[in-house]
């Protein structure tokens, strides 16, 4: 540099240059700000709003199920739950470790939570725990600041006040499966922890009606997902409350009346087809399914030889035994058999070299239609069955609603059972029908396998003469669809059934109603599990005892109720099933008398139950192969 002046000039030039750069930068910043806030302002305002406001689904409250009188069968109970939104949790294992200091989290729970966190969208809440009691719930609320992403939720859980008495009927609810979620087009509601769908029973068939409409909550959330306040809410629309045809008191009574036995009771309204009670015992408690069932409970259910997971009313198939005889009788009458014509019973019926036995070894002597029913004489049926042929019997059975499932009944997984005929046998075994099989079929043995509900429908049809179809919805219309059966024939069979209970020599004489003005007509039945010969003499293990069946209707003059009682391995129908039918039927007319009878029985069972557990039962399973009737 030559001079101070030159140096000054250089400085001034360069300082001005730097000043200019500063000014340019200032303009740049100012321009950028104008761009952001004016030209892009709207876009960013929307984004800020998106940040601020989150929409949370409200799972719709499930509709109630009530009995015909409005008594609750399935309701919603307030419940405290813990949910976690994975994307708001920094360290899931750590958060879970903290949580498990406050509440019980089993290793399975932790595995499940981690798995769900890994597989589901991060913004959807995962259920951490349900049924948290109030103490733990408030303890967690206090510690929430350390538990980012964890939200305590007040929700509802399904509650069945009558527990196992309605277990099979109600079914249960649970979280939708992945398949259901995909079927619903990945509806986020299906991932909502509080959203449950019906998995079985009425809960499943009526699911869509009970489901309701989801609500939504717009909430202000901070960056950590904590809810700051609620903005507005579109409430959910609860699902429909559905009134079932069930009479809750009757249902519970029947369940208790079965007591320690394994069996089913079905009560139908013969006029409308409404199911008043449908009990299968022993049963599961649907409440334990709603909260998630423990392994222990599950193992107990699956290993029980009384099959508490099977709804015997619609899924249990039993040879109807003598309860089938009204079918053969009606077929014979339709064929033109004179009811007064007698058949001589000397204790058996010979077909070729084979002798078909009557239950009374000494024989019944001369037997007409009435006596064939009230004395349940096999020989009459062997004779008539052979006379009219299997097709006539099958045809009559079909008219009476046997061997089919009922699409009017709101229950899934019904079994149609077997009402055999030659075509069926041809298809099933590719063999010709044998006459001996006709004889067996005519007394409800052989291939016959029907559900307790089917023989209840059969009884209701015989009682009303109409084509009764069972339904579980209350308020069903009176059914006026006469069967193609001569009403006089029906009256004759009903008379025989009246005598069976109320006559001097009926097989169910001990079970007549102790009521002044109501009589019950019925038919006993005993389904053999093992041939009579094997069961003769001495101690018979439970699994090899006969099934006891009884069907009945009342009042005899103008039937209103039909009942079918099936007791697995309970022994004969008159001993095991008829007394239950009597008490249940009594309950419909005189509750106090029925309850008194039940109270006496329950006193006795307590003693018996304890004894039953002490008595060692020989394990004969493997020695004898198949022990269940087909």
């Amino acid at each position: 540099m030559k001079s101070d002046v030159q140096r000054d000039l250089t400085f001034t030039r360069r300082a001005l240059f730097i000043g200019g750069v500063q000014a340019a930068c200032g303009v740049l910043i100012g321009g950028r700000m104008v761009y952001l806030s004016v030209f892009e302002g709207e876009k960013y305002a929307t984004l800020a709003e998106d940040n601020r406001v989150a929409v949370r689904l409200i799972s719709p409250r499930r509709g109630w199920l009530t009995d015909r009188n409005g008594q609750p069968l399935a309701i919603n109970q307030p419940e405290y739950r813990l949910e976690m939104i994975p994307e708001q949790v920094e360290d899931i294992p750590k958060t879970l470790a903290r949580l498990s200091r406050l509440i019980d989290l089993s290793p399975q729970d932790i595995t499940r939570i981690k798995e769900e966190a890994a597989t589901r969208p991060g913004y959807l809440p995962i259920e951490v725990a349900n049924n948290v009691d109030w103490e733990n719930y408030s303890a967690i609320n206090v510690r929430l600041p350390e538990l980012d992403g964890v939200t305590p939720v007040r929700g509802f859980s399904r509650f069945y006040p009558d527990g196992d008495a309605v277990g099979h009927l109600m079914g249960y609810v649970a979280a939708p499966t992945r398949e259901q979620y995909l079927e619903a087009d990945r509806d986020p509601l299906f991932l909502h922890p509080a959203f449950k769908v019906g998995k079985d029973g009425v809960e499943r068939t009526l699911d869509e009606r009970l489901r309701g409409e989801r609500g939504a909550r717009r909430i202000e959330v901070n960056a950590r997902g904590r809810v700051i306040r609620e903005l507005d809410t579109r409430p959910d629309i609860p699902g429909e409350n559905v009134r079932l045809s069930i009479d809750r008191d009757l249902q519970v009574f029947a369940a208790r009346r079965i007591g320690p036995e394994s069996g089913s009771v079905v009560v139908l309204d013969t006029v409308t087809g409404e199911v008043l009670a449908m009990v299968s015992m022993p049963a599961f408690d649907p409440n334990s399914f709603s909260d998630g069932i423990s392994h222990k409970e599950w193992d107990a259910l699956t290993s029980n030889e009384m099959n508490p997971l099977i709804n015997k009313s619609i899924q249990g198939l039993y040879p109807p035994g003598s309860t089938f005889k009204p079918v053969t009788a009606l077929a014979a009458l339709a064929y033109g058999v004179d009811p007064a014509d007698r058949v001589i019973c000397n204790g058996g019926y010979s077909l070729g070299r084979h002798r078909f036995a009557c239950w009374r070894r000494g024989g019944h002597g001369a037997v007409d239609l009435d006596k064939s029913i009230y004395q349940s004489c096999n020989v009459w049926y062997y004779t008539r069955g052979r006379q009219i042929g299997i097709d006539a019997i099958h045809d009559m059975g079909t008219k009476l609603g046997l061997g089919v499932t009922y699409d009017t009944l709101q229950l899934p997984n019904q079994k149609s059972g077997i009402l055999p005929d030659p075509a069926w046998k041809r298809e099933r075994y590719d063999q010709a029908w044998l006459v001996g099989e006709t004889l067996n079929s005519s007394i409800g043995q052989g291939y016959n396998a029907l559900s307790p509900l089917q023989i209840a429908v059969m009884t209701a049809r015989i009682a009303s003469g109409n084509r009764v179809m069972p339904t579980l919805l209350a308020g069903a219309e009176e059914i006026v669809q006469p069967l193609e059966i001569d009403p006089e024939h029906l009256a004759m069979v009903r008379h025989g059934m009246d005598l069976c209970v109320n006559g001097p020599a009926g097989t169910a004489g001990r079970s007549r109603l102790r009521l002044d003005n109501v009589r019950m007509g019925g038919k006993t039945g005993t389904a053999q599990v093992r041939s009579l010969a094997k069961n003769r003499g001495g101690f018979i293990p439970w699994k090899f005892r006969d099934h006891g069946l009884f069907v009945a209707f009342a009042p005899v003059e103008e039937p209103r109720y039909a009942i079918s009682v099936t007791i697995e391995h309970g022994g004969g129908g008159s001993k095991a099933a008829a007394p239950i039918a009597k008490d249940v039927m009594t309950f419909l007319y005189d509750r106090d008398q029925a309850m008194a009878s039940l109270a006496r029985l329950e006193d006795g069972w307590n003693v018996e139950r304890i004894a039953a557990e002490v008595v060692p039962v020989p394990d004969l399973d493997n020695a004898n192969g198949d022990t269940r009737p087909t």
């Binding site: 500063q22 806030s37 800020a48």
Partner: protein, 375 residues
């Protein structure tokens, strides 16, 4: 000089710049009040006390004779360097990076003071450098050392933003002092080529990521790009007139990171809108143009270089922060001087302003009576 009466002293103060400082300081109180959700605690009160104390300090420093700064430039630089090394050693001992010394009432970041120290030291160097030697290569050795040593230490912390400010502040002085232009052109070209390489090899991984995310913030909306995106949302959603005092959602719902420190401008802009933004920019504009004008009109070499150097240091500070907030620069973690919550940044800004005013008072003096070599 010392004989001047108080009224005269007051009348000689550069009131426009001082009022701008005051306005920014007070405005920052409002923003901090809102950022705390409408509460004086935890930020506003602290910041208020600090600002009051440091503002008085600024006024006191402004009364110092300009030769004081000239005389103490090297020792000041030396003290800052020792503190910088001290911080680095302490960080090494404790097995982590530490940037500050705890002074009890505040945490002091030596790197902040170093920004000023570098400017003063270089201004002093050139003040006494014979005119004829200003363009020799040899004359560049000491400035290079003076700049590179602290910059490297700060980079080690690692604090990229501050290191850049130190380098740019120093280079500005070298540039203004009259070093040959071609060197700067060459350095510019070198930077264009070298920066990508430096990014690749010198920067920490998290810094690299910040640079890459800065180039495409939407690529990682929940990761490192989150800061920039949320800041832009805050500024943009404020619109022209803002959402209103205490009504910012981005800040109150904590979507905005560092809402009271580095991102305070976004917090402010959300509630005060474009108007608030322009007000702040105008205040900085007044301060910076006053500083530049002081440099242009100052007579002594030290005054000129120090004034411009300090102005540019302040400018970089502001610019890097605002550019970052608006998505122009990577997130480097530089506070906004005079507004962000924090003691060190405010100390630096007001110390800088004090020195600048002191230079302003003496800008017409040709000769500064200090002999080279003496302290």
């Amino acid at each position: 000089m010392a004989t001047l009466a108080l009224p005269d002293r007051l009348s000689r103060l550069p009131w426009a710049a001082i009022l701008a400082v005051l306005a920014l300081g007070l405005f920052s109180m409002l923003v901090l009040y809102s950022a705390a959700g409408g509460a004086a605690a935890p930020w506003m009160t602290n910041q208020g006390i600090r600002f009051a104390v440091l503002f008085v300090m600024m006024l006191v420093l402004s009364q110092f004779d300009v030769t004081f700064w000239l005389r103490w430039a090297y020792p000041f630089y030396g003290v800052c360097l020792v503190m910088l090394i001290g911080v680095e050693l302490m960080g090494q001992l404790r097995g982590g990076s530490q940037r500050w010394l705890n002074l009890g009432f505040m945490n002091l970041q030596p790197s902040e003071l170093m920004k000023i120290a570098v400017v003063l030291a270089l201004a002093r160097y050139y003040h006494f450098l014979p005119r004829v030697r200003t363009q020799t290569m040899a004359s560049l050795i000491l400035p290079a050392v003076l700049i590179a040593f602290p910059a490297a230490l700060v980079m080690l912390q690692p604090d990229l933003g501050t290191a850049l400010t130190i380098i740019l502040g120093g280079v500005t002085i070298v540039f203004l002092a009259g070093a040959r232009l071609w060197m700067f052109v060459a350095a510019g070209i070198g930077a264009v080529v070298g920066i990508p390489l430096a990014v690749k090899f010198l920067l920490q991984e998290y810094q690299q990521r910040r640079v890459l995310i800065f180039l495409d913030p939407e690529a990682d909306p929940l990761g490192a790009g989150y800061h920039i995106t949320q800041s832009k949302i805050a500024i943009g959603s404020g619109g022209i007139s803002g959402k209103g005092f205490l009504s910012g959602t981005q800040s109150h719902l904590q979507y905005l990171p560092e809402q009271h420190t580095d991102f305070i401008f976004a917090t402010m802009a959300e509630e005060w809108g474009l108007f608030g933004g322009f007000f702040v920019l105008a205040c900085y504009g007044i301060i910076l143009s006053w500083g530049t004008w002081t440099a242009l009109t100052a007579k002594a070499v030290f005054s000129r270089l120090a004034a411009m150097g300090l102005t540019v240091t302040l400018f970089f500070y502001i610019f890097i922060n605002l550019a970052m907030i608006m998505g122009f620069a990577p997130v480097v973690g530089i506070p906004l001087p005079l507004m962000s919550y924090g003691g060190s940044a405010m100390l630096t800004a007001l110390l800088l302003m004090g020195i600048l005013i002191s230079i302003y008072h003496h800008k017409n003096r040709q000769r500064l009576q200090t002999v080279p070599g003496s302290i």
